[in-house]
Amino acid sequence: MNPENSPPPAMIDLIKVSKVYPPNVQAISDVSLTIAKGEVVFLIGMSGAGKTTLLRLISRMEKPTKGMVDVAGMDVIKLSERDIHLLRRKVGMAHQDFKLLPERTVADNIAIALEVVYCPQSLIEKRIQELLEQLDLTKKYNTRAGELSRGEQQRVSIARAVANNPEIILADEPTGNLDAETTARVMALFEQLHRRGATLLIATHDRALFHDTPHRVIELRFGRILSQSKTEGSYDDLGELAPALEEIEP
């Protein structure tokens, strides 16, 4: 038994997962996917392909119609209502629609994620300052979230997702409203979390993010996994993905 040869433990494990929204929208069909601890994976695919649905299945915002979902050693489907918080504390999700509280300040919005785990006030303060600095939002500390631009709101939602250093980070279209420079800041933050051992799953249309990446890229189409790059190696090396890419970005 050589530990270096044994595969790294799976952090996210989907087995033949299907999701049908009522009445009969087949959002995900028969997806099997294993993401190792500490891995970074890009999830791509055209609009409506099922990226958001896949992330919601992992964070148990939706239950699959069929299949098994295993996250951080928890059987997500069997998880009882009382224990959901255990999963949610391990999974930080930056939602596509941000889910910020518009009446509360930027600081309050980020603090929520830390308060629910009873983080002491002084640490909350420190962490918020740190994140706002990394995401170039320091001046917005006391601004109400509803008054921010879309791009700023997006960054606040990312800050909240990563605030309590979750083991798994699900980012749904994290750079959709950002310019190149701010995108770089967000990616630097993700890179830092990756180095600290977090597992990241990033759903995106932004080719700049996954182009030339050393990480795995998975493409969804009509709720199925169309293609995957190898764990090692860049996305562009993968010939079979090229036609798919053409469709995403003509």
């Binding site: 918080h85 994620a113 009873y118």
Partner: protein, 295 residues
């Protein structure tokens, strides 16, 4: 520790944000407590006065003949058939005369020459001092009147019976206002908390998404209910105390007819009323959470 610090902060912030409906609820709870405790206070005091009156309350049954012992047993049996009594005493003509003499004291000279059997023999019936039997005293007297050999039945004053009827009425009113208290407080609290739940749906869902436990989300609302119940009850009792003092002042003047021992609630009762109201409001908020908070 940290849990409660967070919960209290959440509850306070929430109550500040919704101060208008909070004020309405507090007012309703206070008013209900005031109405209930007002009637309860009157009832308790009337009961107290009633007990004192009962101390020297007896029915005197005048007989045409002093009954021999077997007949005494017969009377005793018949009296007990109507109601429990505390005790029954047979007074012979001679005993009645001696008593009368005693009452007159030094003036008993007037009795010289008066035959010692000029007073009728009697039975003295001391009713049990419970509200039920005291409020039936008129019927008791009517019943005794029907016994053979009875000349006349006398008991206290006319108003005693009415007084005990009043106490019974007060009991019913207290019970009614108590039910009113239960309904208004639980309903109002459930209603305000429901409004807050709807207004803050988004936030509560978000809390769930970022890993809050159910208790983390629920407890602030239960605490809110408890505060509404507790503070509302204090307000109602405070108002009652003011009212009580005001009324006492009205009766206090130099030419006052002092109210016989009309007292405010003792501490344990005050605590019990506050505790009851708090519990009721927690129940109200609990039911709202059960029905309207879907996490």
């Amino acid at each position: 520790m940290r849990f409660w610090a967070v919960v209290i902060r959440h509850a306070c912030r929430n109550m500040l944000l919704t101060w208008k409906s909070q004020g309405m609820t507090l007012f309703t709870v206070s008013l209900s407590v005031l109405i209930f405790s007002f009637f309860y206070l009157v009832y308790v005091n009337a009961l107290h006065i009633g007990e004192q009156l009962g101390d020297d309350l007896r029915l005197v049954v005048y007989l045409d003949e002093a009954p021999p012992s077997p007949l005494q047993e017969e009377y005793r049996r018949k009296i007990l058939k109507f109601d429990q009594v505390e005790r029954i005493e047979f007074i012979s003509r001679e005993q009645a005369f001696k008593r009368f003499e005693h009452i007159l004291g030094p003036g008993s000279d007037v009795l010289t020459g008066v035959p010692t059997d000029f007073l009728p023999a009697s039975i003295e019936v001391y009713p049990v001092r419970t509200l039920d039997s005291l409020s039936r005293i008129k019927r008791f007297s009517d019943y005794l009147q029907t016994l053979p050999g009875v000349l006349k039945v006398q008991y206290g004053k006319e108003w005693i019976e009415r007084f005990y009827a009043f106490i019974q009425l007060m009991r019913v009113i207290t019970l009614l206002s108590g039910s009113l208290l239960i309904m208004t407080t639980t309903f109002m609290v459930a209603h305000t908390i429901r409004l807050t739940l709807f207004a803050r749906q988004q936030e509560l869902e978000l809390l769930r998404l970022v890993g809050a436990t159910n208790n983390y989300i629920r407890t602030p609302f239960l605490l809110e209910g408890a505060l509404q119940g507790g503070i509302g009850a204090c307000g109602g009792l405070g108002a009652l105390l003011v009212l009580y003092n005001w009324i006492s002042l009205q009766f206090a003047g130099p030419n006052a007819i002092s109210l016989p021992a009309f007292a405010f609630f003792k501490w344990p009762v005050v605590v019990a009323i506050i505790g009851l109201s708090t519990l009721l409001c927690i129940a109200g908020s609990f039911s709202a959470i059960r029905r309207f908070l879907h996490l």
